[in-house]
C-alpha cells in the first residue's frame, strides 16, 4: 500500500527565476541567473555541476544567507506559499532552524569546538520551542538515536572533536531535524567523508526523507551520490540550471550536451582502460563576469551553431517532467555522439610478453613515533608508541604496468608511496627498484635513482611553487638530472609542455594564472621531465572536477603508453582505480588485504573489506543494483591495531566462519591464492568467498 502524499500538491518550496549577485570591486557579478525549481514534500532534488557553477550559492540563497556582499537581485523564493525574499531578519530567524534547516559540507568546522554536542543541539529546541532544557535533552537523545548514533547519551556530553567525522555529520543532521523542518538543504554533506561513511550517511538521508516527509535540496558534485539519493536531478552550469528531470530519466536519457559530457567523463565501475575511453569536456567553466553572450555552454559544446552563439536558451519543458535549456535538445542524441578530433581515444597498450619486475617490495614497514602524552615524556622516559602506518606490505610491479592502491583514509596508502620515494624513513622490510635499495631517504639517495623515481601530487594548488613561473619549475629537474644539454633546456621545456597539452605561452605563466587542471598538467610534466621509470601518483585527480579529471587521466595514460612508465596510482575512487590500473591492491590499517589483477578484484571472490568498499561506492547510474553491505564503526587506531585479522572488528562476513569467526581475533589470516596473482588475506575459505553474490550487478 502506498503512503498518501497528501492532498496538498503545492510544493514546499518554489524558486522562480532566481538571480543572485555578489558585489565586487568591479561591480556586481551574477553568480546565479534565472534558476527555477520546486521541491515537494518527501522529495529530494539533487543539484549537480562542477565547482564554480553556483550550486552552493543557490543553497545559501534559499536560506537567505549570502554574506554582506551577496544579494538576491531578481526572482522569487516561495516557501510554504509565501515569499522569502524581502522578509525581515527576525522573520527569517524564526524560520531558520525551525522550518528550514541546513546540513553542511564540513561537519568538524560547522560545530562549535568549545560547546558540548548536547548544548548545541538543545538550544535549537529551547530557542524555537521554548521548552525546558531537560525536555529538550530527552528529545535530542531520541533524535540522535533516530540517526543511528551509537550511545547517544554519552555523545550529548562530548565535545565535537571527541567524535568521528561520520558521527559529527550525524549530529549535524540530527540537529537539523530536531524541529521537523519542511525543507532541508544539504550542501555536499558527504564530500568530506570516506566512502564507507558516506554510504551510511546517504542511507540515513534516504531513510529520513521517507519518515519525515521533508523536502530536501541535496547538493553534490558527485554524480554517483546524487544518483543514489535524489528523486529528481537538476544540473547546474555557470550559474544556470541547464537540465532538470527525474533521476532515472536524466541518467538514462541526458538531453543537454553538458549533462551528456559529464556522464562521459566518469568511468563506470568495472570499466577499464582497454575497453573504454573517458571523454573530457574541453575548455573550462567561464567566470561569472565573463559569460559568453549566447548559450553559456556554447564555447565547450560540440553541437553549437551560430544560433547558440547569439541566443540564450531558456529552461523549457521537452517531455513530461523533463526540462532542458538547449536550443537543439530535440536534435541531439547522446548515443550518436562522436568524439571530436582533439580528443583521441586511447588504444590499449600492446601487451609485451611477460615483462620483468621493476619494483619488489617485501614486508615494508613505516612506523611513526608518537609520545604517549605522559609527564615522563618531558624527560625522555615516556613509553614510546608507534603509529603503524604501513605494517608489512609486500608486492611486485612488472615493467610498464600500473598498480592501483585503494583504501579508506588512514589506511596507509599515502605513507606507502612516501616511503618508497624516500620522503618518510623506512622502519623495516625491504624494497628493491631496478637493483637499487630504497632504504635511504630521498636526500641521501643516488642521483640516478632519484631520477628514475618521481611523484605526481594530489593537490593542484600546492603542487606548484607559487613564486616561480611554469618554465622555471619544469627546468629545475632538467638541470638537476642533466637530461639535456643546458642550451637545449628551453626547447625541452616547450616539448614537455606540449606533451601535457599546454602550449609554449605557458612557459612564463605564474601558477596563480593556471586552473587546477593546468597546474596538475605542469606537475605531471615536471615529474616526467627526467623520463623516470616509476612514477608514483598520490590521488592525482581527486581534487579535480570530473571533466578535468578525465583529461588528466587520459594524459597520464598517454604518457605512460609512450614512455612505458610503470606507475603506482592511489585514489579513493574505486571506479577510477579500476579504469586506470592493471593491478589493484586494497589496503586496510597499513596492510594489503587483497591484491591482484584489476578485473579479479572487482568480482568474487573478494576480501570482505573489498566487498564492503564496492557496496559503498556511489555509482552514477540509478539502474545499477548494489548490495547493501555497510561497515560498522570507524577504522581502529593504527597505534593499537586489532589482533589477528585487523578487519575483524568491522567484518560483515565473520559469521560465515564457524563460531562467529573466533579465529579472526586470534590468528593472522593466511594468504589465499585465487590464481593469476590474485591474493586474498582472509580466514574464510576461497570457495565460500567465491560463492558470494557479486556486490554490483554491472550491466553488460
Amino acid at each position: 500500500m502506498t503512503t498518501s502524499p497528501g492532498k496538498m500538491n503545492e510544493p514546499v518550496v518554489r524558486v522562480q527565476n532566481l538571480a543572485i549577485a555578489y558585489e565586487t570591486h568591479s561591480g556586481d557579478v551574477n553568480a546565479v541567473r534565472d534558476v527555477s525549481f520546486e521541491i515537494h514534500r518527501g522529495e529530494t532534488l539533487g543539484l549537480v555541476g562542477e565547482s564554480g557553477c553556483g550550486k552552493s550559492t543557490v543553497a545559501y540563497g534559499l536560506v537567505n544567507y549570502l554574506g554582506r556582499n551577496g544579494k538576491i537581485v531578481h526572482g522569487e523564493i516561495i516557501f510554504q506559499g509565501e515569499s522569502l525574499v524581502g522578509r525581515s531578519p527576525e522573520e527569517l530567524r524564526k524560520l531558520r532552524g525551525d522550518q528550514i534547516a541546513m546540513v553542511y559540507q564540513d561537519p568538524m568546522t560547522s560545530l562549535n569546538p568549545v560547546l558540548r554536542v548536547g548544548q548545541q543541539m538543545t538550544e535549537v529546541l529551547t530557542v524555537h520551542r521554548g521548552i525546558s532544557v531537560d525536555e529538550a535533552r530527552t528529545r535530542c537523545v531520541e533524535m540522535l538515536r533516530r540517526v543511528y548514533m551509537p550511545d547517544p547519551e554519552a555523545v550529548m556530553g562530548r565535545y565535537p572533536h571527541q567524535i568521528s567525522g561520520g558521527q559529527q555529520q550525524r549530529v549535524v543532521i540530527a540537529m537539523a531535524l530536531l524541529n521537523n523542518p519542511a525543507l532541508l538543504v544539504m550542501d555536499e554533506p558527504t564530500t568530506a567523508l570516506d566512502v564507507t561513511v558516506e554510504a551510511a550517511v546517504l542511507d540515513l538521508v534516504a531513510d529520513l526523507r521517507r519518515d519525515f516527509d521533508t523536502a530536501i535540496l541535496f547538493i553534490s558534485h558527485n554524480l554517483g551520490v546524487v544518483a543514489r539519493v535524489s528523486s529528481r536531478v537538476g544540473v547546474m552550469y555557470a550559474g544556470e540550471m541547464v537540465e532538470q528531470a527525474p533521476v532515472r530519466e536524466i541518467f538514462a536519457h541526458p538531453r543537454h550536451p553538458y549533462t551528456q559530457g559529464l556522464m562521459r567523463c566518469v568511468p563506470r565501475l568495472g570499466a577499464d582502460k582497454a575497453g573504454s575511453v573517458l571523454y573530457p569536456i574541453r575548455g573550462r567553466v567561464p567566470a561569472p563576469d565573463r559569460l559568453p553572450p549566447g548559450c553559456v555552454f556554447e564555447p565547450r559544446c560540440d553541437y553549437a551553431t551560430e544560433h547558440c552563439r547569439q541566443e540564450r536558451p531558456a529552461l523549457r519543458q521537452i517531455s513530461n517532467r523533463h526540462m532542458v535549456s538547449c536550443l537543439r535538445a530535440e536534435h541531439i542524441r547522446a548515443s550518436e555522439w562522436q568524439p571530436t578530433e582533439d580528443i583521441i581515444p586511447l588504444m590499449p597498450a600492446a601487451d609485451a610478453a611477460e615483462p620483468e619486475t621493476i619494483l619488489n617490495v617485501d614486508g615494508l614497514r613505516t612506523y611513526y613515533k608518537q609520545s604517549s602524552g605522559s609527564p615522563l615524556d618531558l624527560i625522555g622516559l615516556g613509553k614510546k608508541r608507534y603509529v603503524r602506518a604501513v605494517d608489512g606490505v609486500s608486492f611486485t610491479i612488472p615493467q610498464g604496468k600500473t598498480l592501483g592502491v585503494v583504501g579508506e583514509s588512514g589506511c596507509g596508502k599515502s605513507t606507502l608511496i612516501k616511503t618508497l620515494i624516500g620522503l618518510e624513513p623506512m622502519t623495516g622490510g625491504a624494497a628493491q627498484f631496478l637493483g637499487f635499495d630504497l632504504e635511504k631517504k630521498a636526500s641521501k639517495r643516488d642521483m640516478g635513482l632519484i631520477r628514475e623515481l618521481q611523484m605526481v601530487f594530489q593537490n593542484p594548488d600546492a603542487t606548484m611553487n607559487p613564486s616561480y613561473s611554469v618554465g622555471t619549475q619544469i627546468e629545475r629537474p632538467l638541470r638537476r638530472f642533466k637530461v639535456v644539454p643546458p642550451n637545449q633546456i628551453h626547447a625541452e621545456v616547450v616539448r614537455l609542455l606540449r606533451a601535457v597539452k599546454l602550449d609554449e605561452h605557458y612557459y612564463d605563466r605564474r601558477p596563480r594564472q593556471l586552473s587546477g587542471g593546468e597546474k596538475q598538467r605542469v606537475g605531471i610534466a615536471r615529474a616526467f621531465a627526467g623520463r623516470p621509470d616509476l612514477v608514483l601518483c598520490d590521488e592525482p585527480v581527486s581534487a579535480l572536477d570530473v571533466s578535468v579529471q578525465a583529461a588528466v587521466l587520459n594524459l597520464l595514460l598517454e604518457i605512460q603508453r609512450e614512455q612505458g612508465t610503470t606507475m603506482i596510482f592511489i585514489a579513493h575512487d574505486l571506479s577510477v582505480v579500476r579504469f586506470f590500473s592493471d593491478y589493484v591492491a586494497v589496503m586496510y590499517l597499513g596492510q594489503i588485504v587483497e591484491i591482484g589483477p584489476a578485473e579479479a578484484i572487482y568480482a568474487p571472490p573478494y576480501h570482505p573489506y573489498t566487498e564492503s568498499l564496492l557496496a559503498a561506492v556511489p555509482i552514477p547510474d540509478p539502474s545499477v543494483a548494489q548490495q547493501h553491505i555497510r561497515l560498522e564503526g570507524s577504522v581502529p587506531s593504527p597505534l593499537n591495531p586489532p589482533s589477528g585479522c585487523r578487519f575483524h572488528t568491522r567484518c560483515p562476513r565473520r559469521q560465515l566462519l564457524p563460531d562467529g569467526g573466533a579465529i579472526c581475533e586470534r590468528e593472522v589470516p593466511p594468504m589465499q591464492d585465487a590464481g593469476d596473482g590474485h591474493q586474498i588475506h582472509c580466514h574464510i575459505p576461497l570457495e565460500t568467498l567465491h560463492d558470494l553474490e557479486p556486490v554490483v550487478q554491472i550491466a553488460a
Binding site: M1, T2, T3, S4, P5, I131, N179, A182, A215
Partner: protein, 224 residues
Amino acid sequence: MLVKDYMTRHPILVDTSRRVVEAQRLMAESKVGHLPVVADGKRLLGMVSRAALSLRPEQLEGLSFWDLTDYMARLTVGRVMTPLSDIHTISPSSTLEEAADLMIAGHVTALPVVEEGGVVVGIITQTDLMVELRNLLGAIEPGWRVVLRVPDREGEFRKIMLALATSNWGVMAMGCVRSPRHPGFWDVLVKVRYCEREELVAELKKIAGQEIIDIRETTSYTER
C-alpha cells in the same frame, strides 16, 4: 493505519498576527481549505478555514467605506480563528478511525495533528480519509470487485478466505460492513486479480449461504 502515516506533514501555518486578507490569498494560492494558526515554534493556537475567514454581513454593518478598509486592514487571523479550546486535535499515533470519529462528532472537515507540547506536526482532512477509504476498498490497480452478502454468524468469513486462498488468486483488498438495509447480514467486499470472471464466480458460488450481489471489473483511479 495511524494518523501519522496518512496526514499531510509540514502543513502551511499562519501566525496570529497575519492579516485575514493575506491568509485568504495564501489559502487560495496553496489550494488548501484549512490553516493551523500557530505562535512561535509551531505551537497550535487555533484553526482557520475558508468559511471562518469569509466575512459575515452583520460584522460589517454600519461601517463606512473608509472604516471598512481600516477594519479589513486590522483584522488579523487571531481575531477570526476558532480558538484551541473549540477545536478538536488529534495525536499522530491515533488511528484513522479515531480521526474519522472526531470529524463526525465535531462536524469538521480537517483536524490538526498535534504532538505532545502542542506542536503541530501535520493536518489530516476528510479528503485524506476518503483517499484511504478508496484505497482500502479498491486498491488502485485493476481487478475484479465482488460484493458478497453473508449471514452474520461465525465462520462465514473463513469460507471466503479458504475459497480465495486455494485458488492462488491475488487478493488486493477486503472489507466488510453490516448490510445497511438487511439486518442479520454483512456485505463483504473483495478485490481479486489474476483470475477470470467465470472461475471467480464459480468458486464463490460453491460457498453455501452466501450470495454474490455485485461483481464488476474496476480499472484505474485518479492517482493521488
